[in-house]
Symmetry: C2
Subunit: 452 residues, 2 copies
């Protein structure tokens, strides 16, 4: 590799946990790195549910990508989106700026919400993968409470005050717990006619228990903590249909103004165009070194990867795995950029433990077999998430928010934005139905004296 | 007034500065108060420009209305919008929840952006009256820099890096100054190909000087401070047309990807249906007590009011005036609710001074004839705005943001949201034009060795 002639170009697709870790670890003195993302910010996905549930505001968990790599030379950040990869020509076609050639390509474009063939449900049951998703969910939930406050129809009020969360994995658990706290504590004193604590939060899980990635004992603890918050958990629940006003199960229809989908993810459609085997969730089956079989110049990282690692363990789609993969690929390429050849090291996932949070002082953790729950687990969860939040400022602000919310039980981000646009678009779906003048105020009012 | 029979009902339209001050001061032991706003939050409008210029995030300057009146009984908050007022029947028709009858009505629905008959310009030159306006401006500006970074066409790059601010009043000044700081300091180290400090910021003012509400001396100081930041000020500038890629003056066309309209406001269209004289900006000409002439049960407050007060001074459309008006009307109604009759006190505006900020350590202030500029004025501006920011949490967060931004020169809210929606809507207007592969990277790349 006669590096003096021309620097190699590495294209990194996606600035998620995998992409950021890769760019931090890669040696840019020997290669130019182009980092392409369709957003201008990295989103701290583990805390998205707090934006959806009005606990944090959007910039708290997002950080401009350019700002992250301000001090690292040789990382060229571009706002664009890959639409096709051509391994033969070694180039990527982008949505806006033509094609870009690469010497090495690292794909970390992440996963999308998976409706398992029922994409029509998306309009009624948004998933939670981006800031805009989180803002939409927050807007719909808060607006439903406003509508409930103004309706006289008890059935409609119940429907407006019912939130269905689909999926009993960590995302579903965290959403259900946070919605319960929002309704029971944060919003409680806000309304005059409705009692927001009567909000029904229903968690649907298709399997016979929640949190399958945890031990049955910890999952049972989480279930009890959720039930203590008033969350109704329905196991073995199969959804037949979701429409604008209800979720239809095999034996029951649940009228609900809001349904949030946390039931599964699928690798980005970009993966479908790659010449490589995929699993049922669209994830690409990579070689042990994370490259695509037969394409040693293309790597995949993060939750688009299907891999049983060198230790025989399937690698889960979690952020620590994505970060480790990003660093692994960077080490391989750094070595080869220095002209070293020979077999590449296989990727080995180091499982530092798993955690899920249910709410204030409620969480479960399994750190290498050390299992605990309640307040210690919640503190551990808090610490880990703060440490990993990108950027100093965000850390301070989020910390202040959390401390404040802990003591005051007040979500700081209960702002509904986009209402004007919603009404301009004349979106009747989203507007109140059967909303009438609330008691005890008669529509026209009794006779009155005029002021002098 | 036999108050034991039925409480009087006061309807307050709008939760701006006037509406909040009214609701805080009104005696709810003798009247029920219904506060109606089309947003669920009060927006601290004096800091909207900081959201538009990526200095603050949206929840920093917004506070849920319900939360403000949590501890005050008898304030019934409703998310809705008045569409018609019928003074004969004493009722208000609402967009969503039918009609509501009132004994007393206070109108504080505020002003909208005024394009002076050129409403088609709104699509290209958004105004700055709501959080959504601010988010839209921020999105467009930040996205234009991203597009500039990726284009090879020098003219297009210049166009993308040109921001025109229309209007040399306080809003225009604050926007121009904050855009200049964003481009010169905050974004400067973010980009590799463009030098964001070369951004052209052009302030257009139709009169022969900026800041007409200030003395010529202070306005000249503000002008010098703006010019020091690199803002080009064009006086006597008449706009003939604004379209998707330029602003056309009488003698010049300025290619600009972003135009922001800060040139004037007009009272909400709701005022047009009132049986009362209006001025050219649609503001209602009220009686000295702020009631509508001939309708002593209807009051107007805030910047929909046209009034020369009891001291012979025209009342400006600023937030202190709105707050004083809200309190004035509350005092009148409180007195009458206690059964007192007799002549009402006329409103008298107490001018505590005016200020405008240009940027970090740059501002002007005129406090009852005491005129100063620079750092002391900026500190005064900072203090006044912090004191008036509604809500404890916001104050702390905004303060931390400001301190942090002051020392680090980093805007904390440089997040572009809504990009996905923008692209889904296939809004070609907003998409990059003539964006090609940037130098020095050739489209397909030279021949290369494959990795082993």
């Amino acid at each position: 590799m006669n590096g003096n002639e021309r620097k190699k170009r590495i294209v990194m697709l996606g600035a998620g946990f995998g992409g950021l870790s890769f760019c931090r670890a890669v040696d840019t003195s020997r290669a130019e790195v182009v980092l392409i993302d369709r957003q201008n910010h990295h989103t701290f996905q583990p805390l998205l549910y707090q934006v959806a549930t009005a606990g944090l505001s959007m910039p708290d968990i997002a950080h401009p990508i350019r700002s992250i790599f301000r001090r690292k030379k040789g990382i060229d950040v571009r706002l664009d989106e890959a639409v096709h990869i051509d391994p033969e020509k070694s180039e990527v076609r982008l949505r806006d700026t033509g094609t870009i050639a690469y010497d090495s390509l690292v794909i970390g474009v992440g996963a999308r919400t998976n409706y398992f063939g029922n994409d029509r449900w998306e309009a009624f049951a948004p998933g939670l993968k981006t800031l805009d998703d989180a803002a939409l969910i927050r807007q719909r939930i808060l607006y439903a409470f406003e509508r409930a406050e103004l309706t006289d129809d008890p059935a409609e009020r119940t429907r407006l005050m019912t939130i269905v969360v689909v999926g009993g994995g960590p995302t579903g658990i965290e959403l259900a717990g946070a919605f319960a706290e929002l309704a029971r504590f944060v919003l409680r004193r806000d309304f005059r006619r409705i009692d927001s604590a009567q909000t029904r939060i229903i968690l649907l899980e298709v399997a016979d228990r929640i949190l399958q990635s945890f031990t049955p004992g910890l999952a049972a603890k989480a279930q009890r903590q959720l039930e203590k918050l008033g969350v109704e958990i329905r196991l073995d629940a199969r959804i037949k249909e979701i429409n604008h006003d209800s979720v239809i199960l095999e034996d029951e229809a649940i009228p609900a103004a809001n349904v949030v989908w946390g039931a599964g993810v699928r690798a980005s459609p970009l993966c479908d165009s790659l010449p490589v085997e995929q699993d049922r969730a669209g994830r690409v089956k990579v070689a042990p070194d994370l490259s695509l079989p037969g394409h040693p110049d293309i790597f995949a990282v993060g939750d688009i990867v299907h891999l049983v690692d060198a230790a025989g363990k399937p690698v889960p789609g979690v952020s620590p795995a994505a970060m480790q993969m990003g660093r692994h690929v960077a080490r391989i390429l750094n070595r080869e950029l220095r002209g070293k050849r020979g077999a590449r090291a296989p990727f080995r996932y180091v499982d530092k433990g798993i955690m899920a949070t249910i709410g204030r002082s409620k969480a479960i953790a399994d750190i290498r077999g050390l299992r605990f729950s309640g307040f210690p687990a919640w503190l551990a969860w808090l610490g880990v998430h703060l440490v990993f939040l990108v950027g100093f400022r965000n850390r301070v602000i989020v910390f202040i928010n959390w401390i404040y919310n802990y003591f005051a039980y007040r979500g700081g981000a209960r702002i509904i934005t986009g209402l004007d646009r919603m009404f301009r678009m004349n979106n009747h779906e989203a507007r109140p139905r059967a909303v009438v003048e609330a008691n005890p105020l008669p529509p026209t009012g009794p006779p009155r004296e005029k002021s002098p």
